[in-house]
Amino acid sequence: MRRVKATGFHLLLPLSVLAFLVVVNVIKGVDYFSLSVINGALYGNIPNILFGASELVVLAVGMTLVTSSSGGQDISVGVAGAITSSVFVAILLGADKITWWTIFAGFLAGCAVGVLIGAFNGSLVAVFKVQPMVATLILFTAGRSVAFLIDGKLSPILANDLTSRIGGVMPGVFIQTPILLTAVFIALIALLLKTTNLKLYAQSVGVNEKAARLNGIDPVAVKLLTFMLLGVCTAVAGFIAVCKAGRHDSVNLLKYIEMDAILAVAIGGNALGGGKFSVTGSIIGAYTIEVLNRTLLRLEVDTEAIKAVKAVFIIVLMVLASPVVRGYLANAVRRPRSGTQTGTVAEEAEDGWVSAPDAFRGREAP
């Protein structure tokens, strides 16, 4: 009982928000879960959400890692996605013929550029001790222009079957490709967290850098690593986004997604000040944001007002999750049953440790 509570608690916030939104949708119309098959692929509310949120999910995962280790946020992820995807597009358009191999090569090149970008941001943060937001402001300012220069012109178009299959549906596959790619990405991240000590290292550095160092962890290396991983995430997100769009719009591709990614991390129950993190929470948070967007559309809120309603929703959510309000609520809940719960804890402490000196002295006295 206690253990369940301890491990599951951090997901309470994102899950309850998600549940609330789903309930609202169901009340609006029970056809919420309906699916249909068009041109051999599944469509419907749920697949659309999974499809629409794919880039955000990828970025939220990377943002979670950076937040944990550095205690700050990277605001250049959208821009970095634009740059990595411009490299991808440049390689594709530069090739004689677009094959799976050229796409793969382009994707790898994008990842390499993403790692470079991460190394740049990461070294400013880890070595020069610049706050993450300030450090990434540099790229945020300059990045879209860099992407434009790589493109060489406004919005180069990717007109070919292969990339549109990546951004849409593979023949003979039931599910839209970005959903599958996101699933593969999540699986890889899960594998990474399973086969390495990344989580332990990043959390240790984020919670107590001094103690982490005394236990043999190199905080600079860990921070750099998380920023580089985020760089790879931007490459993946940029790849999915540009394949979806079919053209590379250096100005609008992944615009403002950094804000949503940070929001996803916060909604996922993670502290923006670093330390303990839950990738699952961030992923749920990212989907929650997409669900929220689509819920507002479904509720026929004016497209113009969607942002305002979303803002109100976030503010209410953050107020509910704020330490002050939570403390107040916890007190209000605890008061009626304080006799049982806090009583036992105090007793336990007293038995174990507080009275120990007394017991000891008692023996000594005679």
Binding site: N197, N208, L214, G352, V354, P357
Partner: protein, 505 residues
């Protein structure tokens, strides 16, 4: 006579989750006296001060100032009531000027008259002989000057009671002399001064009266003139604690012949410890003795490369090695339990399990995480072995009591099966029961062939566990005492400076 009393505290008790910090403590401060509050770490001095100044609310007891019962809810209220405090960690703002730091947060005027403020500050600084300019940014001043500025601020607020919490730890002799002159001046004006320090000589230089605390309890109040220094040390360290469970390191020191497990010559670090030589043999337990600030912690930190090592050479098992980073020390089989449990030891938000496996996991490498099952097994094993009281292995370590947190850190290092284990104040701030457990464990480890360096503020404890003591004062080694016939008095004499061998060669 009664009117002489300015502050009276009766039956003060204060407990934190799992720790009883103060138990039924009395404290009396008279007008125009300097009253030293003494005790080793964890004795409850700072808790008592924080109760005095309204940082903590007392659980029980009564505080009266000038005969009126008071109950401070914040430092601000205490300040307004004439209780000025200068904390050990300077609580001024580094980015403001000297004058601002003296006057900010006081008065009700909406605008700052810089000319007048700087003028007032100049007068104040000059009257107290503080070498600082009012327009200087505080961060450009030395720590000592910052400390004196904090005192000047308290003085200017015309307090009835001035609390100085280890004000001299960062001052040099000259500055200390000036501070003492200032204290005497205030004393003659009728201010009651509470003075906390670890330097014994200083206590006798300025104090009229001494109150000693130990383990959160009052040992007694004495007139400084009637309490010899050696007796004060005895009272602080609790000599009458007696024969605790008959623990004693009976093992003769392992033969000199063998190659030392660890040997350092001329080791020095950026933390300011003077070059020293050190060696330890297999199965030996030795210790660094000395008061707080003597350099005992800095020395072991230099061994573990916790601070930047600036000189010296190191041999492990006879082989010359370079230890520049903690990970290198760990790989050579050295473990280090830091003095500052909160700041350097625990990863507060992580679970007991993760805290236990951390060091071994890091040694295993980034790509070889333990399986959940393996980690649980390790954690369960050591929770049982060390009798750690925790609801589960997944509980965040910060929810545990101090003693149990310390055991978790100990478990972390035992898990790495070190050849040489450094324990810096492992028993600080934890209850007596756990202290005894840890002492027993140290001896058991030594029997199994582990070399241990054990540091404690309690000489008694070190005498029980260590077969050799390295005594430090003023950041250099002033003596080395072998077990044979070692008594507490011998050690205390060396620590208190009674013995020969001056610090400078």
């Amino acid at each position: 006579m009664h009117t002489q009393i300015v502050l009276e505290m009766r039956g003060i008790s204060k407990a934190f989750p799992g720790v009883r910090a103060l138990h039924n403590v009395d404290f009396t401060l008279r007008r125009g006296e300097v009253h030293a509050l003494m005790g080793e770490n964890g004795a409850g001095k700072s808790t008592l001060i924080k109760v005095m100044t309204g940082v903590y609310a007392k659980d029980a007891g009564r505080i009266t100032i000038d005969g009126a019962t008071i109950h401070f809810r914040s430092p601000q209220e205490a300040q307004n009531f004439g209780v000025g405090t200068v904390y050990q960690e300077i609580s001024l703002c580094p980015n403001l000027t000297v004058a601002e730091n003296m006057f900010i947060g006081r008065g009700r005027r909406g605008f700052v008259n810089w000319n007048r403020m700087n003028g007032d500050a100049t007068r104040l600084l000059e009257s107290l002989c503080i070498p600082a300019r009012p327009t200087q940014e505080l961060s450009n001043c030395s720590l000592a000057v910052q400390q004196m500025i904090a005192i000047a601020r308290a003085v200017d607020m015309e307090c009835k009671i001035l609390i100085l919490d280890e004000p001299t730890s960062s001052l040099d002799e000259d500055e200390v002399r000036r501070l003492f002159a200032l204290m005497r001046e205030l004393k003659s004006r009728g201010v009651g001064i509470v003075f906390v320090t670890h330097f014994l000589d200083q206590v006798y230089e300025v104090s009229d009266r001494i109150t000693v605390l130990r383990d959160g309890e009052l040992v007694g109040e004495y007139a400084a003139s009637s309490l010899p220094q050696i007796e004060l040390v005895a009272k602080m360290l609790g000599k009458e604690l007696g024969d605790v469970a008959g623990i004693r390191n009976r093992r003769p020191r392992t033969a000199e012949s063998g190659i030392p497990v660890f040997e350092a010559t001329g080791l020095s670090s950026a933390a300011g410890v003077r070059p020293f030589d050190f060696s330890i043999h297999k199965g030996e337990v030795n210790g660094f003795a000395g008061l707080l600030g003597s350099g005992r912690s800095e020395s072991v930190r230099a061994i573990y490369a916790a601070d930047k090592v600036t000189g010296g050479s190191v041999r492990v098992n006879g082989k010359s090695v370079r230890i520049g980073k903690p990970i290198q020390a760990m790989k050579l089989g050295i473990g280090y339990l830091p003095e500052d449990r909160k700041g350097d030891g625990i990863i507060a938000e992580l679970s007991v399990r993760e805290n236990i496996i951390l060091a071994l996991q890091v040694m295993e490498g980034f790509f070889k995480p333990f399986s959940r099952k393996q980690a649980e097994a390790f954690a369960d094993e050591y929770i049982r072995l060390l009798n750690i009281k925790t609801p589960s292995t997944g509980t965040p370590i910060k929810a545990l009591s101090g003693g149990n947190q310390q055991k978790v850190i100990l478990a972390r290092w035992l898990l790495t099966h070190p050849e040489y284990l450094i324990l810096d104040e492992p028993t600080r701030g934890i209850d007596v029961g756990t202290k005894v457990e840890i002492q027993k464990l140290v001896l058991k480890l030594a029997e199994e062939g582990v070399s241990v360096t054990f540091i404690s503020s309690e000489i008694e404890e070190m005498l029980r566990t260590c077969s050799r003591l390295i005594v430090m004062r003023d950041r250099c080694v002033v003596g080395e005492l072998e077990d044979s016939g070692l008594t507490q008095n011998d050690v205390m004499h060396v620590i208190a400076g009674g013995a020969e061998k001056p610090c400078d060669e």
